[in-house]
């Protein structure tokens, strides 16, 4: 099995965002209302009073957002995710480009990249906490580990599929290897990079939350853990909603960037 099969499989790129169909509003509104109402009534009827339900969660939103502890926690998690994603993006792009364009690099690293990608990232936590201590560094390391390999795999796949004519023209003009790599290969593999980034962002969020659970360091994940332990489920659930919102935001961001800056890629979407 080659890297490209895994990469193709790891590239959920041909996916128009759900939405904007005319006449979709009412079905969505009704389904949403049904979900919320049944949740509310089931919890009211069968569950103990501390369990989160839509009404109490909604009421908790202003309170939680005004809570400085929540603000610090959110900021801390988001900063860590942004830093980790940034580092993973830089290293992932460089390694991915090299793997995509150099056969020796590809052969040397392919199995390790695939192996680390397939590994459930949570298992590295005990190891990382051994190496970096119960600290924010371990969280960053986990986020990088969670994000790096999906970026490498996708960038390498993109770099491999650069049209040969581009490279031939560059060769004819005696372009240096570096400028070919960053001037031609990188822009040409942008859609793959974005697909990898989208996958990586989701994984990075999970990595951050899991690291906070495991290490008990301040952040959104720990906020959720702490509040649900002290039976403030509604407050904790606001944190979950925010996490979900971040997840959706990353998805929408990638879709928007693809549409805005790579409209030609969208055309392929439609035919697919």
């Amino acid at each position: 099995m080659s890297v490209s099969t895994i990469a193709a499989a790891a590239t959920p790129s041909k996916r128009p965002v759900a939405g904007r169909a005319p006449g979709a509003f009412w079905p969505r509104f009704i389904v949403g209302a049904v979900i919320l109402l049944s949740w509310e009534f089931v919890v009211r009827a069968f569950a103990p009073p501390y369990v989160a339900k839509p009404s109490t969660t909604l009421m908790a939103i202003p309170r939680v957002f005004a809570d400085p502890a929540f603000q610090t926690a959110t900021l801390s998690t988001l900063t860590a995710v942004a830093q980790g994603l940034g580092i993973a993006l830089v290293f992932g792009t460089v390694i991915g480009l090299l793997m995509g364009r150099s056969q020796a690099m590809e052969r040397g690293f392919r199995h390790y990249v695939n192996g680390f990608f397939a590994m459930p990232m949570i298992v590295v936590l005990p190891l990382f906490s051994l190496w970096f201590g119960y600290s924010a560094q371990t969280r960053i390391a986990t986020i990088i580990f969670a994000a790096l390999f999906s970026i490498i795999i996708n960038v390498a796949d993109g770099a491999r599929s650069v049209p040969r004519e581009y490279l031939e023209v560059a060769k004819a003009f005696r372009a240096s290897r570096i400028s070919v790599l960053f001037g031609i290969v990188l822009p040409a593999s942008m859609p793959y990079l974005l697909a990898g980034f989208r996958l990586a962002a989701g994984r990075a969020l999970i990595g951050a939350v899991v690291a906070e659970f495991f290490l008990s360091i301040g952040g959104l994940g720990y906020y959720i853990l702490y509040n649900s332990r002290s039976y403030k489920h509604s407050e904790a659930f606001v944190g979950v909603l925010l996490l979900a919102a971040f997840g959706v935001c990353f998805e929408l961001l990638v879709v928007w960037v693809t549409r805005r800056f790579m409209p030609w890629y969208r055309r392929e979407d439609k035919s697919a």
């Binding site: 099995m1 099969t5 895994i6 499989a9 959920p12 996916r15 759900a18 939405g19 169909a21 006449g23 979709a24 079905p27 969505r28 009704i30 389904v31 949403g32 979900i35 569950a47 369990v51 989160a52 052969r107 040397g108 690293f109 199995h111 390790y112 695939n114 192996g115 397939a118 590994m119 459930p120 949570i122 298992v123 936590l125 005990p126 190891l127 906490s129 051994l130 989701g202 999970i206 939350v209 899991v210 659970f213 495991f214 994940g221 959720i224 853990l225 649900s228 332990r229 489920h233 904790a236 659930f237 944190g239 979950v240 996490l243 979900a244 997840g247 959706v248 990353f250 998805e251 697919a272």
Partner: protein, 250 residues
């Protein structure tokens, strides 16, 4: 014969041996508390297997994984297929499925813990939640990809509902569902370990946790190594399943 085999598999084995050599050297030069060499890891793994501990924990994990994953398939596939046919319901549910697909499910573990406690059921629920949405999301994705003309043609030939399902709906959505199944396998594995870490400690997760709490670095390495191998194996299985069904998708 030998030559071609060497050329095909040579780079693979070379890269594996180089990796093991680097691991071995790094392990020998670092403190034993931080890193153990490959040989020690394998020796520790062998001890775990001989003592029966590994097999026991592996089976416990496998039971959790299979129960949760089977449930996810049993719910995700029929529901997704149903949504393939019921257009209005699909349009209504789509955004919510997409949101749940993008939500980091780990964040729900503390709630599950405090509501359901430490039994087997809450852990199955975690694996289920991790695995069900990729199946559902991709099946719905496949349903969206069915061209309305196909169904119209089927209707104008007075196709029965059963024939419509057999010849149009299922063949069209199944490759997408299988993409979801592949994603679900990977996620269910993460869910399994997360459940074993944060709910009651059992299985391979417990193997790591115990080793880590006893500062048994060799034990941590051995269990992480095994789980990595399982991850690779399951991903290959997922890819094989996906490709088997996707052969004519392009």
């Amino acid at each position: 014969m030998l030559n071609t085999a060497l050329r095909r598999h040579g780079p693979f084995w070379f890269s594996i041996f180089a990796g093991i050599a680097i691991w071995e050297i790094a392990g020998r030069s670092a403190s034993q508390a931080f890193m153990v060499p490959f040989s020690t890891t394998i020796a520790q793994l062998w001890r775990l297997i001989l003592s029966g501990e590994f097999i026991r924990q592996f089976l416990s994990s496998a039971e959790l994984f299979l129960t949760g994953f089977t449930l996810a398939l049993a719910v995700g596939m029929p529901l997704g297929m149903l949504l393939a046919r019921a257009r209005t319901l699909r349009v209504g549910l789509e955004p919510y499925i997409m949101i749940l697909y993008a939500t980091p499910m780990v964040a729900l573990i503390p709630f599950i813990l405090s509501m359901m406690g430490f039994g087997f059921a809450p852990k199955v629920l975690v694996v289920f939640l991790f695995a069900v949405f990729p199946v559902l999301y991709n099946t719905v994705e496949g349903a969206r990809s069915i061209k309305p003309e196909m169904i119209e043609v089927a209707h104008s030939f007075r196709s029965t509902e059963w024939a419509l399902w057999r010849d149009v709906m299922v063949p069209y959505t199944l490759p997408y569902t299988m993409t979801g199944v592949r994603q679900a396998i990977g996620r269910a594995l993460v869910g399994m370990i997360a459940a074993e870490f944060f709910l009651s400690s059992t299985g391979l997760g417990q193997l790591i946790m115990t080793a880590s709490q006893n500062f048994d670095t060799a034990g941590v390495f051995a269990s992480v190594f095994v789980i990595a191998l399982i991850g690779v194996g399951l991903m290959r299985l997922g890819l094989a399943i996906e490709r088997h069904f996707a052969r004519w998708r392009q």
